[in-house]
Symmetry: D2
Subunit: 397 residues, 4 copies
């Protein structure tokens, strides 16, 4: 079947003293605690065998694949050489999980959810990154984001910084709807954003309960997830979308993508500004997408406390090990709540994100730089230090 | 205090033989079954005393008031002279309940929900039409649209086709938010549409459960409620808003206000068209706003049956005495449901409609004709026969 | 591996003239429209090969299996010899899908949802009957009851009126929790009721939205589903559980299982009685489990109309081809809704039913007769004419 | 009209230096910050005028009234003589807000929500303590527990440690349903518990979203609210109701009222015990009713983290000024949330609590001591130091 080019991450299995092999870990191969095991990460362009597919799988010719923060953290190491990424990993692995492409081949039982029939060659598609098992209790109950036996594309099995990738059809979603409003290239660029946009959608719509047209929202943090949330909540009818983000580059992207107001939390008083903008009301949704919850939560709470809005929901989507100091009384008096959010699968999220994109929600501005597959390693390295770019995306022929 | 001009409806209390005075009816004065009691309706321009307000009331100088279908039916009679409107009525009464104006005077306890303080003179406002009691069980439980002791502005007490109207502050909502994006006149025109738009909002958002961005919706019937629903659901992020409406005038208004597709159900196959437009999916929401449920329901059901969409909700907002023939199996296999909807009060609906209008949801095209207070009677009569206009609105100085 | 005894249904593939082979039908073997194809059904005790399992499957030694109404309809024919059951069928097939047993063998990847590890021999288990694919859009979205590629145990693949059955572990649920409060035999009898109880649970809790403690409910129809719903809603804190059922045998079972009041709809005025019992309020939930929706719906509607309760939900769980005549105004004025319900899978239903049974919800009285595997055919035949028994259950050693 | 006996709290208006008169405070009379203003509290038996009622009010002859923790804190002072109770207060005031009685007289518009007609003399009733305005935005939107212009019976206006009390009929609920299952005295004892039980019901059912039959729950803290929650959740079908409470007296009351398991958090490892009892699952609801959230929250979090249950909700109902240290990751990985809860009004809570009590939910064991009106002062004082009793209730002739 020939060979394919890939961007593969290598690292050494050298567990720290603290590490204990977990029940689902595999000695020398796979762990749920990456940063305690993997040392000396190295990115290489490597040739691999063309994947051969099973009866429920599709082979996808990759057309676009974006670099995610976790790609950066897998390839980045601390002072002792351990990778920064703390989660599920099995190296060496082809990186890349925010991708789109066209179906090159499909197994006999590889069903296209759009048509109910076997995938056809040439169908534009994207895929979930979370390979949920479909059989554990959370999966059976309808919560695949909390699968007990998750595998992850580009983390624990080969990803999409490659010419081809194979995926079980259950994780694949058609992008054909995008063709009407996007040109040939844009279809795949937009398609590569479906995954991160679905993380944002899961956070604000599924976990946060969404909004009703006319509600106000505040997004804290203008990374790709925060910015996608800006676009989604604007689309959902938010009256005032407020983005709190100190970087001017990100703030200007936010404006382009749907934010009505920008707050620079380093220069302005967050609470005062939110209350000014909302005429004393405050917001229905506060999305914590900064990764600094200990820093921003007191401001959020103060705004909820002083504003007249009841039923506010604070959604914590960014990961952080920091404790969040919560004042029960604020949440009692204002009938507020806090929810944690993870993942992008299930709940009709992927197809709705695609449908929203197809009908006018344009988040292409998130992609600020296009590169070739060969340029992926250097750009992953670049992102370890630079915040100039938002999403850097490899485009393949 | 001086006199004010009003458009008042007179009629004779001549109960039919079938009529039995209800528990809450008042002999010669008020009934819950208008069409069985009132005969020989007559619209007159009448001078009345300036209303004097209580401590919780505001006096509103009316700036705009639209003609509603129920105004038409109250003034229209059948072959035996009985009015067509079947509901709560107490004649003679000043008509008019879709209105806006400015506060001319406020009682000591007339609190502005926007500020939490007493209403100030000059505040732009509109009002609910449903004067819920706040004390019966549905009201106490949070369902004022189902108040057991409802009074209705412009039906059972004096309405807003008048220079001034008094209303308890609890029903009044500030329009000040509109001033930023609407000019002086438009503020009040838009404000007079808040009431009908809230009927639509209550139907599709509160009762229908709303949508998630990317869902498809179908609105059947392009009257003011159906058209407002078009705008609201577009605002809520619907991917494809489909309006089924035979009149070209209405269809073109629909397009202007947010419909992506129009179906002419008299010329096209409804089910086939919906499935074509949605690529075989169908819609999450079907709004029955035609008043002909027996005619359109089989089409809706067929579309649900043939489409792949599960969890569809059919919302019945238009009133009709016709039985709806429902096939249980369709609703079982497609996990669908039917809900009835009435009213516009409670659930944060009025303030959210105003907020949505203030931030970009423009439904001013619904108003196709502007008239003076004096022209109201002839235009109410006109609407008995003509469907040329959508909303005819009296503008006062 | 040896042989096993089974109760197998044979029939001839003789499609009627109206029948058209569907997309997912298989000529001579499988159809989605049983009653248009299968003729001359015959039940036989047949020996088959012991099933051999795949890596995700478990082999279950059957301990108890109840006869369901659909078993009866598959074996029963009309005047022209066609079977009565209208749905998915592939004959010859071993019948039986309401069952429990113990794990005899498990594949390497056959994970026990209770422990997160491979199934152990001897684990008491039951299984869903609906073999959802886990990959189509409804499955991926979390709605396995609406799977587009459903197979059904005991309908389109071999069921549990047999000494052994194999099932993919994803459909299997542990009954170990029952051991504390049920004796050795009861564990399996109770376990065989989990499937029908889950159909009821899905209807009233998942689809009907459940109740809050203190609400009233009405169940129409005292078959196994209706009776299980009685027990579930009593358990959920219903203040007054009213069962409408003409048969005295069923009514008395209803009382035993949790009904507070019985209405005999053939002798009493349904609406009047419900309003008497509920002191004029009516019910939050009306479960249509009679299969005669055209007959009972007008009574339900009248009760909703006359009662003070708002937000009533009518759940249609019994199958019927009859049209239901719905009055929109009733559902508008009373803020009511109608939902269709099918299936028992997903939404955490099976494990919660088991947990409820384990902690005190006893529905064993539903089983009114215990038989051996050999007696299954004659008892299926018996149920074609007799309504004396509720659930007849085969008990295996 | 004669005189009535009351238990009245007197205190001196001596604001601390930090105190600033709030917008809604009234100099010398009423404040929202009791503990910063009132000094030298003194309880006296005082004779007052029989209240005279307005047209929407009822005069209630009090039959039972329980002592609440806030009664204790209003009468208790710190080292400098300031009362401990921090909230809305207007002294002198008759204390008492957990009460029941019979209607002695009713205004013309004092409507009984049970009948839809004017209250009759002799009707057994109880009342909400929160006198929501019905006109501010939270009230209009359906959230009376968050009324912006709240008054409170027994705090800012005369309460029910008195022979008679007057209340606006909108806050009054009939207890007639209790007569069937409770004897003459018990009706009023049970009725006096409706208010605290409604605080618990609002927390676990309205704010916490309730449970589905078969879910597990953990209540932390066996005060009256925690214990009422035990009874309510048992009633709602909880499989395992676990009460964490160090006092043996309270624990034994918990058992009597519905707890299946008791944890003594001072002697046992909370997380380990919960996971043992629930076989590794954990609970759907954790109710923080201890007032020590900083102490118990880490245990709750650890249990959520180690258990397999997803979608847990932590409800904070007890008031505390302490910060709660929240780990975002736990709430992300386990799809969990935290909600604050306050109040007992709205959402159909009072009538459902009464209905649940009427049909079998017996929380009378909460009342461990019955006293006369004259004994109220000494028992309020007793409760400042003793935890022997749960609810002490004054019984009037």
């Amino acid at each position: 079947m020939g060979k394919i080019q890939t961007v593969t991450l290598f690292a050494d299995w050298e567990p720290t003293n603290d590490f204990k092999l977990g029940l689902k870990d595999v000695e020398g191969k796979l762990t749920y605690l990456g940063s305690q095991v993997w040392r000396n990460p190295e990115l290489k362009i490597v040739e691999k065998e063309m994947p051969s597919i099973g009866s429920e799988e599709v082979l996808i010719k990759v057309k676009a694949c974006g670099i995610c923060g976790s790609d950066v953290h897998m390839a980045q190491s601390d002072d002792e050489g351990y990778v920064l990424y703390p989660g599920l990993t099995a190296f060496p692995v082809t990186l890349g999980h925010e991708f789109s492409g066209v179906v090159a081949k499909a197994g006999e039982k590889a069903i296209n959810k759009r048509t109910g029939k076997k995938y056809q060659e040439g169908e534009a598609v994207c895929s979930e990154e979370m390979l949920w098992c479909g059989s554990c209790r959370p999966c059976a109950d309808g919560y695949p984001n909390h699968c007990e036996r998750l595998q992850e594309s580009g983390f624990s099995c080969d990803g999409a910084f490659a010419e081809y990738i194979k995926v079980n059809a259950r994780y694949v979603w058609s992008l054909e709807d995008l063709r009407e409003n996007y040109d040939q290239n844009e279809v795949f660029l937009a398609g590569s954003l479906v995954e991160p946009a679905s993380v944002a959608y899961n956070a604000v719509i599924e976990r946060g309960g969404g909004i009703r047209p006319g509600d106000n929202v505040v997004i804290l943090g203008g990374g790709p997830i925060g910015l996608a949330a800006v676009a989604i909540l604007k689309r959902a009818g938010a009256a005032r979308v407020i983005l709190s983000e100190p970087s001017e580059v990100r703030a200007s992207l936010g404006k382009k993508i749907g934010a009505d107001y920008i707050i620079n939390p380093l220069k302005e008083n967050f609470t005062q500004r939110v209350l000014e903008i909302t005429e004393g009301l405050g917001a229905k949704i506060y999305l914590e997408a900064t990764g600094l919850p200990d820093k921003v939560f007191p401001d959020i709470e103060q705004t909820i406390w002083q504003g007249k809005q009841i039923n506010s929901v604070v959604i914590v989507v960014a990961r952080s090990a920091k404790k969040i100091p919560l004042s029960g009384e604020v949440f009692q008096v204002r009938r507020a709540s806090v929810v944690g959010s993870q993942g992008h699968s299930g709940h009709g999220t992927f197809p709705r994100v695609i449908s929203a994109m197809a009908s006018g929600m344009n988040i292409l501005p998130l992609i600020t730089k296009r590169i070739s597959l060969e340029e992926v390693p250097e750009n992953i390295t670049l992102l370890q230090t630079s915040q100039e770019e938002c999403k850097i995306t490899a485009v393949l022929k």
